[in-house]
Point group: C2
Chain length 279, copies 2
């Protein structure tokens, strides 16, 4: 999917919502547990109930790997279902991968070719040659961690790096340096909603990039705050909600209740878009 | 496996060799491609030919994920084969995972419980709460990236962090900070062999920890240099070789030739151990 197709979808749906498909068997409705593939059935229910309110789905690979081969099959069925039934949806493999060059190429093959996701999240610690193999894929997107939504973000990401004439936090250095990498136009970045005040500075470095924003909802971030400082001329934000939507109910009505929560977010987003854009 | 069991194995085998099972279907002997599970058959051949010369096997998950469900099945069969036939071997899932707390818990469950690896590699960028869920597992080991063997290591890992009174490189800060985490005795670290001169400084920070050292062989690092600066009183090193051993031949004799290469490394290690230790 091209970035323009994603932007067009956002304008059409008046939504920049990503729904995180982080399926934990201990949290899903018990009636699904009797089915052959409870994880896929759960996802199917959520997707069919919300596909018109969001622009993207983001399965976190950890939740699938935890169930071994069965989990991997559920992941494959989920991405295939989205790609076949709702091909306009932008898909994110939240995998946070990164390794030396020849190994990152294998991860890129796994997520872009074998599973056919539109994008994958990666970690920056190993630098340029760990990320460029992902960037080489045309019309695929690599979403690199910059400033994450968890407490541990303050352990290293916000440390001051002083090699340049102008000292700056590590996450800013990560953003800056990555702009010089080959095919960097295929980069997006993860920036946590729990740190809304940082968006102004981040937009100075990457004014045009899409930012994937976790941390709204269960983790405490505010949608309006993030938008205030993070929106750009093409919206440029994908706001993720996982637990707040998919676990809105653990009864027979889980999909219906997920739709209610997704609709609330979509409407909040529609209001924000209407007051900031003329499309 | 306890750290002491690993040390005992090193002493017994006079080896601290880890063999990286990074299986690329385009590089393995063509006669294996006709079998139902070429990746597993390849690994089985390598393992049966080298188990007495190394102390550990390290499949890199990227090479399995690249083949989708089939690859994940090959990974599971490989780890099961090692655990059943050679239970004394230390197993490393080279996965470089790391995510927010509840997600890292799922990764830990995937590698420590579902697949039953002894250890897993993790990335430090997301900080304490992304790593502690792994550390909570008793007699399991979490091997965190510190200074990697690739060129991109110089993009961020060696930047000077100046928040403390004493400015230091980021990888040193990562080592230092991680020592304060809960159950940090379950930490080991990845330090690339291509940077042997750094081992002296690293040993000042983590004198007792095991270091997993990639980059000897194909990537150009020197075993004797690494040992000169990196050995500690319990050896404290696991030297990985992947391509140099497993792709020594791509003919019918691939396992035999892998043994020849592994034996060369084991003998070099035996010499080093004999001149440094009295066990």
């Amino acid at each position: 999917m091209t970035t323009q197709q994603l932007i067009d979808q956002i304008k059409r749906k008046k939504s920049f919502l990503t729904i995180g498909l982080d399926v934990d068997l201990s949290k899903i409705p018990t009636h699904l547990l009797e089915l052959e593939d409870p994880i896929f059935e759960f996802n199917k229910g959520i997707i069919d109930a919300t596909y018109d309110l969001c622009v993207s789905y983001k399965p976190n690979t950890a939740f699938y790997e935890a169930y071994g081969i069965k989990g991997w099959i559920s992941l494959q069925k989920t991405i295939n279902y989205i790609n076949e039934k709702y091909p306009e949806l932008f898909t994110i493999a939240d995998a946070k991968r990164g390794d030396i060059g020849n190994t990152s190429s294998m991860y890129a093959k796994a997520f872009f070719e074998d599973l056919n996701f539109d994008s994958v999240t990666v970690a920056p610690y190993m630098g340029k040659d760990s990320v460029e193999p992902f960037l080489a894929f045309k019309n695929k997107h690599t979403i690199m961690l910059a400033l994450t939504s968890n407490e541990g973000a303050f352990d290293f990401q916000t440390l001051t790096v002083s090699d340049d004439s102008q000292p700056k936090e590590l996450y800013k250095k990560v953003l800056e340096v990555s702009k010089s990498w080959k095919n960097s136009e295929n980069l997006m970045y993860v920036v946590g909603a729990t740190k809304a005040e940082y968006f102004t500075e981040i937009r100075k470095i990457v004014p045009d990039s899409f930012l994937l924003v976790p941390g709204v909802g269960a983790q405490g971030g505010s949608l309006s705050e993030v938008c205030k400082y993070g929106l750009n001329k093409n919206v440029g934000l994908l706001i993720n909600s996982s637990r707040g939507i998919i676990y809105a109910s653990n009864g027979l009505d889980y999909a219906e209740k997920a739709r209610v929560e997704a609709l609330k977010m979509q409407q909040e987003m529609e209001d924000i878009l209407n007051s900031n854009f003329t499309f």
